[in-house]
Symmetry: C2
Subunit: 434 residues, 2 copies
Amino acid sequence: MGNRRFTADAVVTCDADDSVFAPGVVDTVNGRIAWVGPADSAPVVDDTVPVEDIGGLLMPGLVNAHCHTPMTLMRGSGDGLPLHRWLTEAMWPREGRMTREDAWWGMTLGSAEMLLAGVTTSCEMYLFEEEVVDAVRESGARLVMTPGVVSALHSSGSDRAAEISDFFSRYHDPSGRVTVGIAPHSAYDLGVAAVVEFAELARSLDTVLHVHLAETREESTELEDAYGHSITRILHDHGVFDGRVLAAHCVWVDAADMELLAANGVAVAHCPVSNMKLGSGIAPLAAMREAGVTVGYGTDGPASNDSLDLWEEVKVAALLAKVHALDSTVISATESLAMATRYSAAAVGLDDTGFLAPGNALDMIRIDLEQSTFVPMTDTDELLAHLAWSGSSREVTDVWVAGDKVVAGGEVLSIDTERAIAEVRQRALRLARG
Amino acid sequence: MGNRRFTADAVVTCDADDSVFAPGVVDTVNGRIAWVGPADSAPVVDDTVPVEDIGGLLMPGLVNAHCHTPMTLMRGSGDGLPLHRWLTEAMWPREGRMTREDAWWGMTLGSAEMLLAGVTTSCEMYLFEEEVVDAVRESGARLVMTPGVVSALHSSGSDRAAEISDFFSRYHDPSGRVTVGIAPHSAYDLGVAAVVEFAELARSLDTVLHVHLAETREESTELEDAYGHSITRILHDHGVFDGRVLAAHCVWVDAADMELLAANGVAVAHCPVSNMKLGSGIAPLAAMREAGVTVGYGTDGPASNDSLDLWEEVKVAALLAKVHALDSTVISATESLAMATRYSAAAVGLDDTGFLAPGNALDMIRIDLEQSTFVPMTDTDELLAHLAWSGSSREVTDVWVAGDKVVAGGEVLSIDTERAIAEVRQRALRLARG
């Protein structure tokens, strides 16, 4: 990949300084960023370095911190049913019929949608881990694969632990595009003891434990009654938070729970669109941020969203926080962009993506600034407002992952999207009809 | 325009039966719908009638029930400021510098955005009513123009009433594309007496009174303290609801207020994205519907949204209602689509648009069903789910208003969008700098 220089009308770094350089420069070498800054102070490079004046806006790729992407196969199924009937009548029967090949195609279609939206990394909690890895490798995206553990399928925790350990040893590659974590579904599904065991396994492998936590008001009532504490405190008291933990949802957490999350470095994958669609509740985003919790954004599965375009979360998360607080000033455009990028990356255990800085992977996207929803633009504050409130897959024209171009001119280079659409259409019919 | 037949893979009528015909037929004559129904029972037509096999999905154009569209000129300005500072430091100074030509270009750019999103009608509450009408006429869209009355500019209510009466007599044309209503800003801005006077004028002209009502918790406190009632009851008790009324927002209404709205046929323009962004509050959508209130959707001004793509309201309104009620079953996909179409049309006083039925105007849009976000589609319930949760301007390919094609292949035929972008960019700079 060698050296290369990109010049753009604007570069939004999403680093800790939230820098905006307009115009800006990104220098790269061998799939990593060498320098990023304002055009007028860019280092002199010799004639052999190709310079691409790409126009538009460059920023880091987005990171989807919580997803079950193969569920593209069930998008729209059972729409409008109450939660329990939706699961038992629409989701689980279809998942029960799903083959490895189905999962591969479901993941492939979802990967295409995410790349087209500028989502360069997703953290997947799902079964069929071999197929998910294979599909994402072919797509060129970055992946944090956290193989799921659910009570209905894994009555023997130790067998599944052995499978996951083996999978980890074969695929976990922090210097490459795939890392591996572990995803026991939840304490209410598996019991506290099983979550503790998988948390110990995750610690022994020095990797991320990914677990659903406090998504609905009712789910953990039984455990909370038994222990006399909130589910968050129960997990804390059992040492689950001693390692690196990514907790999805955290809708029903109180101030004491938030303190526990912050003090123990537990990261939260906030999934506002899914929480709204399923009527789960409003997670206290502004309060979690105030308490010092690292919060990233997730779409959750495409069957409960129904989109994989993380730009929706950028807008909806901030707006939901504002109306929840009755305060338009909480969760600014800049802060919401940070949660979709660097905070999401940190939440899923990656430290070299999610912001543009020297040494980081070149996971980068280009935004077309000529769209009328980005008009007018009288200063950089308006630029950031437009990104946060009007950004969408529409404006993403080019995407690089680890320096490789995977989307060009709004087309995914690595995936036959038409074929993936046709496969998912046909396979979904079979899953629906049994 | 003569006779013409459209055949499509699906026709979604958004009529009171919420019919879906797949495949379906729409027959038209002279800009009106002659027949709509399933392809296999379409009436025989003779060889002279052109038949266009248009594929995709046909449905009524969306209706934006509450908007201040020329505010495209201020989109993004003062983003993140608290409400009062946003108004006094960012909005009002720019509006104070706005010329008639500025308003024309702001409206023109917004019209382009709405048409591209399949919004065929908007109900505008703004000043510069002549320019708004002229711009929308050129765009080919349908318009309900409700000239605004605000205390800062209209110290003499009677002068403004005379202006509006004159404007009404020149432009109100129920058989054409422009109707005219009257928009006193609010009781908290103008006082109750002024709202009553303009309500009487609206009644005398047999047209719609368009007024902001109960948007924020604080705005009407003074009046409510003085009268000992909610602002909704104050307006009711003063006879404001005796005519046709479109009340924008209605965030802070209780059960008794909703009963008053329903019993008096007051329609509500629900603007969830704006209410969220400004931190105003969550309007009780499910409860208003339950009480029998006619509710349509509005984007509000593009400076507080920041989009004119009413598909966002289709998704966000339903999802916000679900999470507000902690119940995933309230406000179904079908119901949310109805609120963006036939209920919005009824709310703004139009009875021959917003649904596909014989005799109605041919205000119709075509949706591309080949997008991956519409995949899979195993039954018509999934089709409606995809429309509601994944619909956006991306999928709108063609738009007709009163039988005239105004958007073809995703391009507005009637507006030089590039010129409008350039004009708004340049004019916004002047408005920002003074």
